[in-house]
Amino acid sequence: MSALNAPSTRYVAPVGRDERIWLAFAVVWCLFLFVIMYVWQFFGEQRTPIESYRIEPSEFRALTQDYIASHRIGEVEGVPIVVPTDGGEAFLAARAFQFEPVLQLKVGESVRIYLSSYDFQHGLSIQPLNLNFQVLPGYVYVVNLTPTTTGEFGIICNEFCGLGHHVMSGRIIVTE
């Protein structure tokens, strides 16, 4: 009888030898995939950021503007360039349709980035590293980065945020 027909009576049968071997490997692989996420999160170099806080978009905007005003070192295409605070903190805001400010980081120095949005949901996508994080209005996502390479790294928005979505970009500069 095929799978289209009811099995005659009892359908619980012992599992054959080849199937048993396969099942054993399958179970081990499933458990490995589960455990590895914990291992990675405690011992890996690239861990998923977890820390986050609620914040009113207007308050985040005010904090970011203060930070930009006090740490500004220049400007590119009308977007302010800033350095992190002495404690290694920085704000990175997404708004329709620009990331601001441009962060200038030092290679090997960790920075604690407070990431949020003034308006809609956005996506922080750092290129060409291809590191991607969701940006939600009302939430600060704390992303700790330690750059190991110098250069200019582009940022694009990768969450649809309106008809100007495809011109929404930003930049991270890493210097010696």
Partner: protein
Amino acid sequence: MTTATAPTPSGLLWRVCQVTGYRVYTPVQRLILVNAVAAVVSLTLGGILALMMALTRWEAVSLLPAELYYRFTSAHGVLMLVFWIVFFEIAALLFGGTILINHRLKGVRFAWIYSVLMVVGAIVTTATTLSGHANNMFTAYPPLVNHPMFYVGILLFAVGALLGACHFVYQVWTARREGVVAGPLPLVVYALLAAAIIAIWTLLHGAVAYVPALLQSLGLITLDAAVYRTLFWGFGHGAQQINLAAMVAVWYALAAITTGARPVNEGLSRFAFVLYLVGINMGSMHHLLVDPGIGMHARIINTSYFMYAALLGSLIHAFSIPAALETAQRARGYTNGLFEWFLRGPWREPGYSALMISVIGFGFIAGVSGVLMGTMQLNMLIHNTLFVVGHFHATVVLGTTVAFMGLAYYVVPLVAKRDLAFLGLARWQPALYGTGLLTMIGGMMLAGKLGASRRVWDPSFSGAPLQVESLTSPLMTFANTLIGLGAIVAVAGGAAFVLIMVATVFFGRRSDKPAVGTLGIIAGDQGPRSDVEIPEYDHHAKRFQAPGTTTLVFIFLVWFVAMFAWAAFNLGNVGWGVS
């Protein structure tokens, strides 16, 4: 086999199918066809939009202006992922809840009500979207909203689908109670029952997300961005679990229809569907792995379906379906070496080639990429890139849609009592469609790996004040070309399917013994047609019963481990510390 205690066919309400031997309660035929036609209409519209979208992202063509690209992306998503798939699933539930278990349809008028509700909902939502009132994608994350009518249509459709899923459960229950089904359910019906249960749960989730979304769109409430994403993906990801369960049900059905295969271990296969039910409300955080607002344990437990319970279910099917095919083909004398049974399969049978493309494509590409993306840390490299789009075209199109097309080649002609039109074209359709899809999916995954974003009109962000040079490279152009060319071939393959279906349903030669496929049909009400006796799988044998399959699944595992290792290497290669 189902017992024959139901009244013998009499009068206008029953007929016996001359091809399969199934007793068919005739009022259900038109219902199945209406849902199937609605599915094919959705597929047609969605396919036309798909072609224009792919040709827009391909810089060499840049077909559409930005607003139309976003509008069509919204419409394509809802037409394909919701309407095409769910209409087909409702047709499959109507089929499984009556013909496969010899049952009459209890509540024909009720079935018409929910079918009409779904059609009306689909029309309302599609019209709202195509007229440019729902450009914010079918996910429409707050604070973005679509027009209220978009949500009204979705809710009407979802209520219809919910009633349909409940109706199927009622059919199975009454079949039991009335003694129409005395023993266990056929495996395919059991699998559809799992799909229906997941559907009921998922659609209730859908109401929890879409009712507040409607209220927000009317300006009555304000939704929290993170809360809405959590609610939405309870529906959005659960919906993919329905597709998974329904697709595997169709795999078992196609294996039976095209080779007469019998399940190697009924109990284990059923257990695998129970594992799907365990994973039912999990997986939603696949979409939220790099979101703020969620703790570590919640992410890991949810994304892993609690230690990969659902993955284990799929790995059971990954053995059991090829092993069933191998046993059947070995019984036909294809016993040389490990793979003669595979190489000399009935590839000219549309249902068989659709089955193989769906199983292999889903396993090697969709399943593996899904697990990579669902691994919390690896998700940082993949979230919202075009790789995600490649992944879900591998699951829902290369997997589910190809399987559904394969089944349609049998169910539609038999239920419509018309010959399958353009059999020669049908033989090639799965291969044509599959080739186009593979090319397109490969291009999408490559582009995503290079950093291309999903849902963007201009993937190179060439109009942005701060230019991002790494997004333009010869390799990226190559990837976009693959997507464009693949989409053209895939849409041609999809058009071939639509042509065959339309020609069959509306213009096919009427017949009480419709011509389907090249094999006729091998499995029906009386079990596999007796061209050969297909032996029962010997569970006590010392020798491997399916050595080819055993080899194949371990090749698959090696591929799986290698892809995981490669993805982990890529993450390490980022170099930057992230936490």
